[in-house]
Structure formats: C-alpha cells, structure tokens
C-alpha cells in the first residue's frame, strides 16, 4: 500500500502530545528491548533511535488495544492480531500509567465517541445541539449510531 514518507516525516516533526525515552520491543519473536525515543503525535506513535532525527517507524493507533503488562510495562496490540504485541518498558509505574492513559485517548475513534458523548450531554441539558452554531451538525462523522454511505 502506497503512503507518503514525506507526510509521515513532516508529521513526526510536529509538537508531540507526549515524548520520552522508553525501552521498546518489537512483536517479532526473539526481539530484544531497545532504547527508543517514542513520540506521540495525533494518532501516530513514532519511534526513533535516540540519536537520530528521522523515525525508524510509526504506528497508527486506530483499532488497537493498550494493555497493562507486568510492572512498568505496557503493550500495544491491534485488533486483527491480538497476540502480536509491541512492548514498552517505562522507568516507573507512574510513567507507565501516564502513557497508557495518553495512548488510549490518542485515537480518532476515541475522540469521535467523546464528541458524540459531550454533544449528547449538552443537548440533554439545554435542549440545543451545540454543533449547530458551527454549522456542522449534519456532518457524517459527528452522528450517533451507524452511518451508512
């Protein structure tokens, strides 16, 4: 599948929601923990060798599960392959929890559900659709329930 490296590279240079040096292990069998600079930008998690300016890779964080593993460790797996895990070992349990929290909120789909929730709550309280003032109430992406196209 074609994708633009330039777009990804440019994105990896944007201000990060969260960034830290963390030990990372790839899902491949026999992989070892390696120190990486891990950077969360929008719904992408970029990982760099600590002394390099360009990422080694990127993970799109949609349809994924962030799992708490043993102490200081969390993992990212994707729905279609739940046993294939990217493992991350943090310095402290606190740092681990912060990353789990941040990564769970980092998907577009999570934000969409949040938006629908808030919209619904505000509508219940005021009887008005808060999106009307922005002229976006009819947008497909803000609708509750299944959208058929």
């Amino acid at each position: 599948m074609r994708y633009s490296e330039r777009e990804l590279l440019s994105l990896s240079r944007q201000p990060a929601e969260k960034a830290a040096e963390i030990l990372m292990r790839a899902p491949k069998k026999g992989s070892v923990l390696k120190k990486r600079l891990v950077k969360l930008v929008v719904n992408f998690l970029f990982y760099f060798r600590t002394d390099e300016a360009e990422p080694i890779g990127a993970l799109l964080l949609e349809h994924c599960k962030i799992n708490k593993e043993e102490e200081n460790v969390f993992s990212i797996s994707f729905i279609e392959e739940p046993d294939r895990k990217y493992s991350f070992e943090c310095d402290t349990e606190e740092q681990c929890q912060e990353w789990i929290e941040a990564l769970r909120r980092a998907s577009y789909e999570f934000m969409r559900r949040s938006l629908i929730f808030y919209r619904n709550e505000i509508q219940k309280m005021t009887g008005k659709d808060p999106l009307e003032q922005y002229g976006i109430s009819e947008e497909a992406r803000f609708q509750l329930g299944t959208r058929k196209l």
């Binding site: 633009s4 490296e5 938006l115 219940k124 005021t126 922005y134």
Partner: protein
C-alpha cells in the same frame, strides 16, 4: 519509515463506518492521466482502492496539516489536497458532480485529528461550565461525585451514555474501537456493584430536576 501497514489495511477494509466514500478521479504523479479510484475516508486517513470491491487499498493519504481547495484542472469538479511541508505532493482529485465535489471538500477539510480535537475541547469546556453552573446553584449537599467529574468513563476508552443493562456488558458497537482492557482500573461510573441501569435512573432524576432549574434560571 516502517508503518503498521497490515493494521492500516484492516482499518480501511473493516466494517467500521466511513466518513465519506465514493468514486473520484486521481491525477497521477508523474503520468498526468487521471485514474478513477474508489475512495474511503475514515478519520484522518483517506484510502483509495482500485475498485470498490478491492480487498486492499492501493494507497492512503494522511490528512494532517493539509488544506483542501478548489482548483483549475483538465477535469471538471476538481479540487486539490495541499500540504505545507517542503517538496510535498499535491493531490489533484476530480469528483463526478458539483454536489459530490462539495461534499468531499467539506468532509476532507474537517478530517484532521487537530480539528476533531478542537471541537471536542470546545464541547468539553461547555459541558464543564454548565456543570459548574449547576453545582453552584444547588445549596444542598451533592451525593453523586460523578456529576462533578467531567469525563465520566471516558478514560476507559468508551462513552457510557447508552442505557445498557449492566456496565460490563456494553454493546458490541463499542467493540473494535480501541476499547480499554477491563483491567484498566475502576470504572468511575460504577461504585461497587451497582447496576448501570439503577445508576442511570438515580442520576437521571437528579439531572432532570437540575436541568429544569437551570433552564428556568437561564430563561431559555
């Protein structure tokens, strides 16, 4: 740069609803001929397939940091996706009607994660202000700490507004969307073993009364 392509392909082809879908003609990068492709917009990812029934996308355009504008082109109903970065590629696309073009330009220009985040923050702020306003207008001691929390259950990765019979059997519709593991910590909505529908009724009564008071005091 490596990318979790298999996951992207799954995201593109799975059942989750698309924000827009349809045929567009895409101008080639080197060969300037237009190719008709089936486009699917999900979140900030614009996938394009050779055919509507293709099992894998030919490619994907990541819609962050771009602008969408109408443009003059050999094809009618043309618009362009432009990126800010140096030497970035401009994608020229053509729709099959004026209405389709307008629909695509609208949905693509609001497709970024940043835009979504902006709207969510705005609504979150509005809701917080309303709840604070209500909390202030009540002199009776509040019994429900949850009402002051502005993010009920959202940190579990799912919104809990639907009236499911029990909090641990949320509908499957919330399924493949990055749901948190159930071992992620106490769900803030559910103290002890209270069933969600009972909680819902309990808060519901309070909320109905508060809403009535609020509406009266604001003369909506």
């Amino acid at each position: 740069m490596k990318l979790n392509e298999r996951s992207l392909v799954c995201y593109a082809t799975c059942d989750s609803p698309a924000d827009n879908a349809g045929f567009l003609s895409k101008k080639g990068e080197r060969n300037t001929a237009y190719h008709r492709r089936w486009f699917v917009l999900k979140g900030n990812m614009l996938f394009y397939f050779e055919e509507r029934e293709s099992r894998e996308p030919v490619g994907v355009i990541i819609l962050e940091g771009c602008t969408v504008e109408l443009c003059e082109a050999a094809e009618e109903f043309a618009f362009a996706i432009k990126f800010d970065c140096a030497k970035a590629r401009t994608y020229v696309l053509a729709a099959e009607s004026q209405a389709a073009m307008e629909s695509w330009v609208k949905s693509l220009s609001r497709a970024s994660f940043d835009y979504m985040r902006l709207v969510v923050k705005e609504l979150e702020k509005q809701l917080e202000e309303m709840q604070r306003g209500l909390a202030g207008s009540r002199s009776v001691q509040r019994r429900s700490p949850i009402y002051r929390k502005t993010k009920p259950a959202l940190c579990n990765g799912c919104a809990v507004w639907n009236n499911a019979p029990c909090v641990d059997t949320l509908p499957a519709g919330d399924g493949p969307g990055g749901l948190a593991d159930s071992g992620s910590g106490k769900p803030p909505v559910c103290p002890g073993t209270v069933c969600f529908s009972k909680l819902h009724d309990w808060y519901g009564r309070e909320i109905t009364e508060l809403r009535r008071e609020w509406q009266e005091s604001h003369k909506l």
